[in-house]
């Protein structure tokens, strides 16, 4: 009887041990010396490995910006490629520190999945792409009734697609794959008539097809897709760091601070720029976040400002050639607006 009692006590002790509280993400990240960043398995312009194996794209650069803010060094990032289905579990379980993977901000994801969205790094909308050579005469998504549509599973895209065809009383045949590469391969092989995902994604995917010139993106945008990075819910400090990294990128662009001129700008006497770059005497805006006071300098040195990041990855400096459109700063008629650092 005594033995059993000891056994029960042992098991109970195991149970108590397991509920130890986890440390803050910032401390964990600092301890291991890098940020584990969840990205896509390869979406040109957002997160895709280049021929040397370096991850390129807006989403990859955002993680570099956070690493620069934390460590002063944008290279202290390790990337984890994730399918749409794996991404939330990876963040919830602590496998990654930040999810920067062209993910749409929705109420359900914000409230029921234990995620906290940081901001909207890219305002997107869902569209359709077809092979114009095989389907001449189709120039609107409303002509797609009866089409086979390729789509990635577990995305908001899949839900919007169902809603759009239902709303317009059209029939379609969904061809659903788990991985982006599988969807691309099936569409390229002619398994589907149309491909649907975020419009920016369609432009990126078109470049990877066997004959990009044959494919056209139809004009309809059927949904709002605010894409942004997310962190685990319940760690306010880490969420603030990610959020203010994003705002710093926007504020740097607004103030005209670029990767090239950031060192000269440090000498600026404009109090706005001084606060941003941490050169204001007695300013401690960085320290309040748990970072160094010159964290914005580090961010801009690593990846440039938001505009530079955009042009380099999806804009005029990239093969995608996407116009800024609604992703321009608010001062230029767009939606990107960074709250002030002060």
């Amino acid at each position: 009887m005594k033995h059993i009692a000891i056994g029960i006590l042992g098991v109970a002790a195991l149970g108590f041990m397991a509920s130890a509280a986890s440390a803050g993400t910032l401390d964990t990240v600092k301890q291991k010396g890098f940020i584990q960043c969840g990205v896509s398995t390869g979406l040109a312009g957002f997160s895709a490995p280049d021929d040397k194996g370096d991850w390129k794209g807006i989403d990859a650069d955002f993680c570099r910006a956070v690493a620069a803010a934390v460590f002063g060094d944008g290279s202290k990032v390790k990337f984890t490629p994730l399918s749409a289905k794996e991404r939330f579990t990876a963040l919830q379980s602590g496998e990654i520190d930040i999810l920067s993977r062209n993910t749409t901000w929705t109420s359900n994801r914000d409230s029921a999945l234990g995620l906290d969205f940081v901001g909207i790094t890219y305002y997107d909308g869902q569209g359709f792409m077809i092979n114009a050579k095989k389907l001449p005469g189709v120039n609107s998504a409303l002509q797609l009734s009866g089409a086979a549509v390729c789509v990635q599973s577990g995305t908001t895209t899949e839900l919007n697609l169902a809603d759009y065809f239902k709303k317009n009383k059209m029939e379609y045949n969904p061809v659903v794959f788990e991985k982006l590469e599988e969807v691309n391969a099936a569409y390229d092989a002619g398994r589907c008539d149309a491909y649907t995902t975020d419009q920016s994604g369609l432009y990126g995917i078109r470049l990877t097809l066997s004959s990009p010139a044959d494919h056209v993106v139809l004009p309809e945008i059927i949904s709002k897709e605010p894409l942004g990075p997310a962190v685990r819910q319940g760690d306010d400090q880490w969420a603030h760091i990610a959020r203010w990294t994003y705002f710093a990128l926007l504020n740097a662009e607004e103030a005209g601070i670029t990767q090239a001129n950031v060192d000269e700008m440090k000498a600026s006497t404009d109090p706005n720029i001084q606060r941003l770059l941490g050169t204001e005497p007695d300013g401690k805006y960085g320290a309040d976040l748990g970072l160094s006071n010159d964290f914005v300098v580090n961010i801009v040195k690593a990846v440039g400002n938001y505009g530079e990041m955009f042009e380099r990855n999806v804009g005029s400096g990239s093969p995608l050639k996407i116009a800024r459109g609604i992703n321009a700063l608010w001062t230029k008629g767009g939606l990107q607006y960074g709250p002030p650092i002060r």
């Binding site: 059993i4 098991v11 149970g15 289905k85 009866g146 169902a162 239902k166 788990e178 002619g190």
Partner: protein
Amino acid sequence: MASQEILREEPSRGSFINDPRIRSLFFQTLVVILLFSSIWWIVHNVIENLQRLHIASGFGFLRSRAGFDISDTPIAYTSDSTYFRALVVGLLNTIIVAAAGIVLATIVGFAIGIGRLSQNWLIRKICTVYVEIFRNIPPLLVIFFWYSGVLAVLPPPRESIHLPFGSFLNQRGFYFPRAVWGDGSWLIGVALLLAIAMAWFVAHRARQRQKATGQQFPVFWTSVTLIVGLPVLAYLLSGMPLTFDFPKQSTFNLTGGFWVKPEFLSLLLALSFYTAAFIAEIVRAGIRGVNKGQSEAAAALGLRSGPTLRLVVIPQAMRIVIPPLTSQYLNLTKNSSLAIAIGYPDLTATAGTVLNQTGQAVEGVFIMMIAYLVLSLVTSFVMNIVNARMALVER
């Protein structure tokens, strides 16, 4: 207490600590307690961590609107249906592909297995090569082989290959006319059932007559005539109520008729051809396991090689074949979850989508595990009944 009674009865045992019965009882109790405590501990931890991470839990989501569409729906399903119905659709798709795969794999496997024992050198070698190739390639690669093969070789919908009887084959799948039953066609079904019942009765009587008199009756041809003849007669008498819905070309694809999608086709072919290689080896082992004296005795009684195989060797081989065959059927069912790689909406694929749309991974995985467990248990239950009927009946 019990231990004291034992002490009184057998004082030579000494302290109850050394009593083997008490010891075994003690350790068994300990293991059970440890097992249940750890299960409780895991469940408790999961619930606590989910709450700490602000992740929704519970099975309430099953009643919410799914919002996504599924390509193959054996039962009525739209994006307005519930998550539960989506899971049922996925489960049915798994059952359909597993059941069809089991039938096809058994047919191919038996043919190849018997072929490996053929007297014909060429047949024997072809069957050996088949087994060695398919047995040694991972099933996922076989699936990709069929799927990419299907997509790469076949033409786009507008250049579909025309097959006899109004069937078509293209990249989007295989299309054939669907039978549309008109008024009075119930008579044909009744005729078919009647024919089957009569065939069974004839077989029964023939067996009895053979036992009593030793005379044989052509049961097979009588049954074929009955099963084919009666429904045809009913069809003619009821005024030919059967028409066909032929597949037709429309804007994007063929519409109408019956449509088998390439995802299903390649999964079915891959699973059955892969499993058939294993079944072939099991069948070969079963036939080899029947003592040579059995066929020699049959020959001595004057049976020819056909009846010897059918009446003497195979019934005995089946006793060896069925238990490992059950394992292969279970493997095939579980391997069907590889469907996710080519986009066939089986249980794993739909449950994965549900899991992702709701974010409730623990519940999603739990449902999947229970569903596969039940499927496998039902399969083994059925196979155990078959095994019991086939087992050697001692007289």
